[in-house]
């Protein structure tokens, strides 16, 4: 299910030169301008990827975020080896490279004064893939929201289930949804924010189960990969297929919100939470 494997980030390119090339309109943007604009293209509004901590700093009031479950990291329980080596080497490299130990960062804090529990996925870490540790953190954070009667927000950025954990990763879809089911039973709001990309097993589990599904502009949101579908139907797909705009039109997303407006949008919604 994890068919989306493009892991290039604008940040990396930025380090190599003072210019960042926009992936969508291909215009060259000054690195500083790009960063000041929250990794969003000032020319075409393409939303580039950002790290989980950059996201947390954007959303939460200063010094209110408390990280939870940071002790969780992957295990190579299947001893999975492919052409490029072992899964263990892969995630150890990712831990070194990113400074985080799983594809999601979890915690709680205040958004313009409104308390919420949050899980923010990080696409840099193994393509944001959903492994056992990822699922565990998303479930634990949901359970924390359940215990404290706090709204739960998940930012998704993922290529899907983590193949290197086999069916154990598939089962994280059921595990995380079981957490969402408990929130539903207790009438605790769950807001899902789908960012680029949210695909495969993540789209087919917690990411689509928000009481509100919010998205950033132009995000790829898909169950099956474009190439697989084109092979199945034998024809080219429309350009806007599987974008947040396409999903809004088809009734699966409540609203598309620009990155710079996300904090106020979320706090505005959270301000209605009355319990």
């Amino acid at each position: 299910m994890a068919w989306y494997t493009d892991t290039t980030t604008e940040r990396k390119k930025a380090k190599k030169s003072l210019w960042v090339k926009c992936k969508k309109c291909h215009s060259h943007i000054y690195e500083n301008e790009w960063i000041n604009n929250l990794n969003v293209c000032p020319n075409c509004n393409y939303h580039g990827s950002i790290t989980s901590w950059e996201r947390i700093n954007l959303i939460f009031d200063k010094d209110t975020f408390v990280e939870l479950f940071s002790n969780i990291s992957p295990i190579d329980s299947l001893k999975f080896n492919d052409l490029k080596g072992s899964y263990k080497d892969k995630y150890e490299n990712n831990i070194k490279k990113t400074g985080i130990s799983e594809a999601v960062t979890t915690g709680h804090g205040k958004i313009n004064g409104n308390q919420a529990v949050i899980a923010v996925m990080d696409f840099r870490f193994l393509g944001g893939s959903l492994g056992s540790g990822t699922g565990e953190k998303i479930l634990q954070a949901a359970n924390y929201a359940y215990d404290k009667d706090l709204p739960y927000i998940v930012f998704s950025a993922s290529g899907g289930a983590r193949m290197q954990e086999g069916a154990l990763s598939l089962m994280q879809m059921a595990k995380t949804c079981a957490g969402v089911a408990r929130l539903n039973k207790k009438n605790i709001p769950y807001i899902s924010v789908l960012t680029n990309p949210t695909t495969g097993g993540v789209s087919a589990s917690y990411a689509m189960m928000g009481d509100l599904n919010i998205s950033e502009p132009g995000a790829l949101i898909a169950f099956a990969g474009r190439r697989v579908i084109e092979q199945t139907i034998g024809e080219k797909l429309p350009d806007d297929f599987q974008t947040s705009e396409y999903l809004l039109e088809h009734g699966f997303v409540d609203s598309i919100v620009n990155r710079k407006d996300m904090k106020n949008y979320l706090s505005n919604v959270l301000s209605y939470y009355n319990r």
Binding site: F80, A161, M163, A167, M171, M173, A174, M209, V228
Partner: protein
């Protein structure tokens, strides 16, 4: 623990015997058996072990998906809601049933019938046998992801026992979409995987011809999945596999379903839901040291 030393030789012998019986097929050979053209499909189990099938149609939103069927049925007099992927045998049957690849309307019908089972307070039996959920334009358009996600969420708290049986191919999210339950049973030559070995090979090995390697790495056999806590019970297939003796495998499946219904019957609803939640909370392995 003191007995450990004395038993080592015996245990080793037993392990070797078990290996000879169980591990003589490679994962790739098991993949091929799970897709054998004569492998019994849902229709065969319907004929062999279920009676008085009252089929219900439609998801109430869009259409009736022939790749996923369901309705009330009896198994040795015991009333259940039977839901399953509907593969075919002949090419025509398979085209008609989309090779058991359900669309959103299939998953939505399945959920509607599970809710119906809740109303009537009858246990649910799901039969899993699909290469995957249908990857097509209209499936995406109508919310394949949402339909599966909804089932995973709702099945976590359906208030009757759910028994899932993987009879052939357990293809990823398309299988899991009717695969959340209290007991997961699996035939010894069935497979259950996050991605097809061919798909995995073409991504991680850059070539689908490495599918046998991917099959090995993915741990998609019943033995491996039992070891990793993904499934609860293996139903042993006769002779060359399920296709070699329909009556025998059907009888084993029947016995296993009935035993599990009996075991789950005594549980209070709250207990059932709590146990199901704990079951899924416990799946997966990770480190807590970093």
């Amino acid at each position: 623990m003191g007995l450990e030393v004395d038993n080592t030789a015996v245990m080793e012998l037993e392990e070797k015997k078990a290996e000879v019986i169980k591990e003589d097929l490679s994962p790739w050979e098991i993949v091929k058996k799970s897709r054998h053209p004569n492998r019994p499909i849902l229709q065969d189990y319907l004929e062999q072990i279920f009676s008085n099938f009252i089929e219900f149609h439609g998801d109430r939103y869009y259409s009736d998906d022939k790749a996923m069927i369901g309705g009330f049925a009896e198994i040795e007099g015991k009333k259940v809601m039977l839901i399953g992927h509907n593969k075919g045998k002949s090419t025509n049957e398979n085209i008609d049933r989309n090779f058991g690849m359900a669309k959103p309307e299939g998953y939505r019908k399945a959920l509607r019938l599970m809710k119906l089972a809740e109303r009537f307070n009858v246990p649910i039996v799901t039969i899993i046998d699909t290469p995957g959920a249908f990857p097509g334009l209209e499936a995406e358009e109508r919310g394949q992801a949402e339909a599966i996600a909804k089932n995973l969420t709702e099945m976590a708290s359906i208030e009757v026992p759910i028994i899932c049986v993987v009879i052939g191919e357990g293809g990823s999210g398309g299988a899991l979409g009717i695969g959340v339950g209290d007991k997961i049973l699996m035939l010894s030559n069935a497979i259950y995987s996050v991605i097809s070995p061919e798909g995995c090979a073409s991504i991680l090995w850059r070539d689908a011809k490495f599918a046998p390697d991917a099959a090995e790495a993915l741990n998609l056999t019943a033995n491996a999945l039992l070891k990793h806590g993904v499934i609860d019970e293996i139903i042993n297939e006769p002779g060359e596999g399920a296709h070699s003796n329909y009556e025998e495998i059907a009888d084993s499946v029947k016995k296993s379903i009935l035993n599990n219904i009996k075991d789950l019957k005594g549980l209070q609803t709250d207990e059932l839901i709590q146990k199901r939640f704990e079951k899924y909370s416990g799946i997966g392995k990770f480190s807590t040291n970093s």
